[in-house]
Symmetry: C2
Subunit: 219 residues, 2 copies
């Protein structure tokens, strides 16, 4: 029982700071997406491809969360995107306080969009509010079509699901219809975007989604 | 600081129960492997393929850890393997107490080998001792070749790495030599097994590894 109590306190403290972050984001006029997935589902690659397509149109930045290395930050920065790397050490998810501290070192001025790339983990990041406007989950086809049932909390938390690596569908056992049906049950109003960062298929719909979200938030 | 203290207490309590589990496993003469990976790297599929190959030779059982569903247990049980499913709810890893409780309902008698399939997570399960003899990590090629650097704790904890889905190498960006070199740095004495559960390539070496571990443990 002690552990549960501690977790509740941690979540409560987290939510208070997340609310501050959210206020700050609103004042600055930046739309913030918490991007989550298993390790290797394609979060950073999606951001690289997004940078290529949104360059000169919607100025955006990235906060990267990883246990170790600045590898992801370097990949994103190579596309001219302002980026800040948080190393969590052994931490399995980002929390609102880490984002709050990061914002002391990251200039939001002039940005319309901010991605927070969470630690690769289909469990722990789900319930930690960072102050984002929305959460986007990436599921890649090699992970298998049973994931919505096996990791229900994450799928419940994310109104937008990107199914990535659809170019691998001929080579992996992944029933797209099954996943669509499972996700519809969990998120009846949710959005599913199917794409491949490798071939570019489906990327237009992703970019349109971002344009739409940013323009609604500016209004 | 409070959080760190709590985590240390939790780990200490966990280790005491893990020691009890380890004693129990030794007395029963069963060799226990904690099998870990990201979601969808192929833990359950590897166990299914192992069941096909070890049938009638080495009697083994499986304890499954998942947030939700008994889907993995059903897949393994279909191969005639005794299996027990633990549902962790929101829990991001198995702990020694869950295994301790599971053993009240799981007959080890006559088994020579027990797999504990942990929750799909490349972070949190790493440091929780369950009482196993060894830890095996699966990395699948679609996850990318940067994982040893980005999830160092998990790679440090596992003396044996299975690189799965090598049949997908022609279709995904994954530099096998790079991963071998990274892992050699983290685990100079470690073992790397490269295989495909789909095509069966490399499965013989995995089965030989299991035979060897079990026969050493019986001696």
């Amino acid at each position: 029982m002690v552990e549960i109590k501690v977790l509740q306190n941690v979540l409560k403290a987290n939510d208070a700071i997340a609310a501050e972050n959210r206020k700050r984001f609103k004042e600055t006029g930046v739309y913030v997406i918490d991007l989550m997935s298993s390790p290797g589902a394609g979060k950073t690659t999606l951001l690289e491809q997004t940078a290529k397509r949104l360059a000169g149109e919607i100025p955006f930045g990235v906060i990267e969360g990883d246990l170790a290395t600045a590898a992801d930050a370097e990949r994103v920065a190579a596309h001219g995107v302002p980026v800040l790397q948080i190393n969590t050490g052994k931490g399995c998810h980002l929390d609102a306080n880490q984002i709050h501290n990061a914002l002391q070192h990251f200039d939001l001025e002039g940005l319309q969009l901010l991605f927070i790339e969470n630690v690769g983990n289909l469990v722990c990041p789900a319930e930690f509010d960072l102050g984002q406007q929305t959460k986007v989950l990436i599921l890649s086809t090699p992970e298998g079509d049973d994931k919505p049932e096996k990791y229900p909390v994450m799928f419940q938390q994310c109104p937008t699901l990107v199914i990535n690596k659809i170019d691998l569908l001929p080579y992996v056992p992944f029933d797209l219809d099954k996943v669509r049906a499972l996700v519809r049950k969990i998120q009846p109003e949710g959005r599913i975007l199917e794409l491949s960062c490798s071939t570019g298929e489906g990327m237009d719909a992703w970019i349109d989604f971002l344009r739409d979200q940013v323009s609604r938030s500016v209004r």
